[in-house]
Amino acid sequence: MKKIGLISVAALLASGAAAWADELSVVCSAEQDWCDLMVSAFEAENPDTDVLMVRKSTGETLAQIRAEAGNPKIDVWWGGTGDPHLIAAEEGLTQPSGVDTSELLGWAQNMAEISDGRAIGIYAGALGIAYNTEILADKNIAAPECWADLEDPRFVGEVQVANPNSSGTAYTELATFVQLFGEDEAMLKLAAVGQNVNSYTKSGSAPSKAAARGETGVSIGFMHDMVKLAAQGFPLAIVAPCEGTGYEVGAVSIIEGARNFEGAQAWVEFALNAETQSRAPEVGAFQVPSNSNAQVAPESPDLASIKLIDYDFATYGSSDTRSRLLARWDEEVGDPNPEQ
């Protein structure tokens, strides 16, 4: 009894955690290596600041800053797909950073406008199709070139894509189809592709990993993830669909009520400058940088050669459109015959 008592006392005693003024607490939703690079580069430029960085996915981060609202432990949220950043902005969980965005490309400024300066674009990545060259060769299936090809019966049981209810990647695909073909036509097409889908995965990056390992023939996902897998040595070929495709914009936001606002602001400025962004390919991040002066890696999917749609983030990022489209997806595309 006394032992338990003493231990719990000790636990309470130790609970006075310190928070130094020159500490900057960063949540990073990009790949770990990229996060590490950012931290060491930032600390080299700002030797007085001690960056505390932890990597969490966008969904986890959004859930955490919602739960922490009012007394946040995070200062700045860097990286990860833009939709959750926009939702956080819409819910007032983040605050405008007031940083100059004039050097940025149009889509990055657009994101800042939509969110009243709360979320700023740092990179973009286009949606595409990947296929396992070995599997398609084995089965004598002609490679896909367009979204429409995926409706073809030759791909039956070979297509894998995430479920838009759980994955932001798949939601981007859904929204892309709607913007390309109109809502009704998009649902028909998605349902037709669905005839060939072997599994709607929970995670957005899972299908391309499965395609890389030959667990499925074809996947839909972000092209920079596919480039990375191919660069690791997997037999993966990447296709920019002929009809045109949508894209995601990765963002950076400052949390409302951040304890170290100046530090967070310095981080955002640092994240947007051309020099920082040019270093991303060092760690195998092949997204397209948002600063117009940043260098684009030769491996990066060349956005100029891809037919990009004029993705409407304001409309398709809003909660209303999202719930409506997802409800329709559940009803008309859904999971009619899941594997058991």
Binding site: L52, K56, D335
Partner: protein
């Protein structure tokens, strides 16, 4: 007893006067709070206008006066109990109402500069005051004629209830209440249609091509896994205790491996072996010309992975129980001319019932709360745990849906718990008594032995293959594609620059944090878990069943829900813990405590009560009895609790993901990040290092705890010779 109360009260008063009441920004051992001008202790705070701190100090003073002035014991105890209870109540109320931003409710009544300034979370002073008041109350309660007059028992019950209340109920309520949330308020009528929706409970898969509801899927998977792991665990336990199997040591290691494996690794290895492009699949496809299918993705894959992962838990629970079955009973049975099968069937097996029931319950709960395997292999087979995760972190966050699903999951657990109670009934399973008991355990009859081998050995072989694959995967460039040998993954993770004496590997930070936190959490978990088990088995008190269930609660709730609810509950005063290592320790202690409780209950049901009675008759109090009689006989249960909580703290993922911070990152969060990133080599190398670390730690613990000596020859009847 009066002395004990006075000591606690003095301690409480001292901390009220001397220690900072609130938590400080500089950490505990930094004396800056004395000089930085803020009146920080309870007493000075009260004098400086934080009048709401006064009741705690006042209660301590009044209780001390009562103790010193009232001669009549029962009256003294009752009055002290009331005073201390009131003190605790006011402490909790003020903490909940006045937060950093000032009062949360009654803004109109609570005015003034002091109160509007708000207060930080409770710190050292508040903590010790609360404990002092709690013990003053419980000791008084024991003297006022309740609880058999045993201060130790009542205080332990009080402490555990307080801890479970604060660290299980308080956070969990934060999230469960959202199940009743509708736009702009709360509603009971909305809850029922949503709860009983066919998405959750639908039985479509039984009658047609539609899929079943997620809860039905979870239930089916849980029952199958519970049964499967119990049978496998029993087979292993029997092989260990009742046969002369030669390679017991190898088997022992194999039964430990899966629990010390970080999540995702088993699923990943299974994909590489049995996936559509897996090694085994391709081998058979080439051999027999079979179609390479995706059978692994769905129910069977998850079931397969769960059997591999959770059998060891059943084994850990069962080994102690099977060992404990008294040889005298078996000998008596054989003397009465029963053969070995009859002895097993009618004597040994029924005596193992508490073990079987607990093993099944744990397997079932583990299965329905399991998150890693369904995520990797589940595909279209949706279960509650993954649905809850994506209801919280998915593209459309829906906390209400998550809460409803969590309630569905809880109701499944509760049903399993009740079913287990009914099956066990009120029989006695005590077989370890004070009487001489020097016989030999009966060996298994040949058929049963063959059956055990047939069940357990394929599992062991498969485990061996899976783990060889994992080791292999950590040494090759790109697992599955480029099998050239490399140390790169290890160097990246655990590189050391000997010249500059720096650790250059990326994994070191999280590795040390993980080990520190797990080593602190493990003994705490064992203490809390086993003391709870002791109370449940040995003591009678009002509300025992509810108490027992409440200790299982945190285990049954999916980690994701626990993680988010901990942030909601402990991000604000009165208890502000987010971003610290304490919150990780606490979440591990209370999440893994049920294993200590289950194992403890199973082991303790076997200890005959006459042992306690003998000790008490000889004048020992219950604390001494626990220490000198029960604990030494609980070796295997202690070891299981320690091992399991240590290992679970290292390998758990879903709760931890929300609670890790930059300063305190955990290995699993790191590994998951790498897996998401497709860096399997690094993830697997890190996992391999963790596995080796945990194996070493387990062996060390085994040495420290030692084996219990039952004064029985540990030999099994030589079946070969006897037959």
């Amino acid at each position: 007893m009066k002395k004990t109360i006075l000591i606690w009260l003095a301690l409480g008063l001292a901390s009220f006067v001397l220690l900072p009441w609130h938590m400080t920004d500089d950490g505990l051992f930094d004396p800056r709070w004395i000089t930085d001008g803020v009146a920080a202790t309870g007493l000075f705070g009260t004098l400086a206008g934080q009048w709401w701190l006064a009741p705690a100090g006042l209660a301590l003073v009044v209780a001390t006066i009562l103790q010193l002035t009232i001669p009549e014991p029962v009256k003294r105890a009752r009055l002290t109990l009331g005073t201390a209870g009131a003190g605790l109540f006011f402490m909790a109320v003020q903490g909940l109402i006045i937060v950093r931003a000032g009062p949360r409710v009654f803004e109109g009544v609570l005015t003034g500069d002091g109160i509007m300034a708000g207060q930080a979370g409770m710190g050292a002073g508040a903590g010790i005051c609360a404990i002092a008041l709690l013990f003053a109350a419980t000791i008084s309660l024991s003297q006022s004629g309740k609880g058999q007059g045993d201060a130790f028992v009542v205080s332990t019950i009080g402490l555990i209830i307080a801890l479970v209340g604060i660290f299980v109920f308080f956070p969990v309520i934060h999230i469960l209440v959202r199940a009743f949330e509708v736009e702009g308020g709360y509603s009971l009528t909305q809850f029922f249609p949503r709860f009983f929706s066919s998405d959750i409970w639908g039985l479509g898969c039984l009658i047609g091509p539609r899929s079943c509801g997620v809860a039905i899927n979870s239930l089916f998977l849980g029952v199958m896994t519970g049964l499967g792991t119990t049978v496998l665990g029993l087979a292993f336990a029997l092989i260990f205790t009742r046969t002369d199997f030669r390679a017991k040591k190898v088997l022992r290691v194999l039964t430990v491996l899966p629990i010390i494996t970080p999540p995702f690794v088993i699923g990943l290895a299974l994909i590489l072996l049995f996936g559509r492009a897996g090694t085994v699949t391709e081998f058979f496809a080439d051999l027999f010309g079979w179609e390479q299918t995706r059978w692994l993705y769905g129910f069977w894959g998850v079931y397969f992975a769960q059997l591999l992962s959770f059998t060891p838990i059943a084994f850990l629970v069962l080994i102690g129980v099977v060992q404990g079955v008294s040889p005298s009973m078996e000998e008596a049975s054989q003397t009465l001319d029963a053969d070995r099968w009859q002895t097993f069937r009618y004597v040994s097996l029924p005596l193992m019932r508490p073990g079987l029931a607990n093993a099944f319950l744990l397997g079932f709960i583990e299965s329905i709360a399991d998150f890693g395997n369904p995520l990797v292999l589940g595909s279209g087979y949706s279960v509650l745990s993954t649905e809850i995760f994506f209801a919280i972190v998915g593209a459309v966050a829906d906390p209400a849906k998550a809460a409803i699903l969590a309630i569905a999951l809880l109701s499944l657990t509760m049903s399993a718990f009740i079913a287990q109670r009914l099956w066990l009934g009120k029989k006695s399973y005590a077989t370890i008594t004070g009487k001489a008991d020097s016989g030999q355990n009966a060996g298994l009859n040949p058929v049963l032995k063959g059956l055990c081998y047939a069940i357990a050995l394929p599992w062991a072989a498969l485990t061996l293959i899976v783990y060889s694959m994992i080791i292999f995967g950590s040494f090759v460039k790109l697992w599955g594609y480029n099998h050239s040998f490399t140390f790169d993954h290890y160097i990246r993770a655990f590189g050391i620059d000997f010249e500059n004496r720096r650790l250059t590997g990326v994994a070191w930070d999280s590795y040390f944090t993980t080990l520190t936190i797990s080593s602190i959490a493990a003994p705490l978990t064992a203490i809390v878990g086993l003391s709870t088990a002791y109370l449940l088995v040995r003591q009678k008190f009002v509300g025992k069943d509810a108490f027992e269930f409440s200790t299982m609660l945190s285990f049954a709730i999916p980690g994701t829900v626990i993680g988010v609810s901990y942030i909601m509950a402990f991000n604000f005063p009165p208890i502000e813990l987010t971003g610290t290592s304490i919150i990780l320790i606490i979440v591990f202690v209370f999440r893994n405590m049920p294993v200590g409780v289950r194992g403890g209950i199973a082991a303790m049901s076997q200890l005959d009560k006459s042992l306690d009675e003998a000790s008490i008759t000889l004048g020992a109090n219950s604390f001494t009895t626990v220490r000198r009689v029960i604990l030494p006989l609980m070796g295997p249960a202690i070891l299981a609790a320690l091992t399991y909580s240590f290992v679970r703290a290292i390998t758990s993922v879903s709760a931890v993901i929300f609670l890790v911070s930059a300063k305190h990152n955990m290995a699993t969060a790191f590994i998951v990040g790498r897996v998401e990133n497709g860096e399997f080599g690094l993830a697997i190398a890190y996992s391999a290092v963790l596995i080796v670390t945990m194996l070493a730690a387990i062996l060390l613990m085994q040495l420290l705890v030692g084996t219990r000596r039952l004064r029985r020859t540990d030999r099994v009847q030589q079946t070969a010779k006897a037959a």
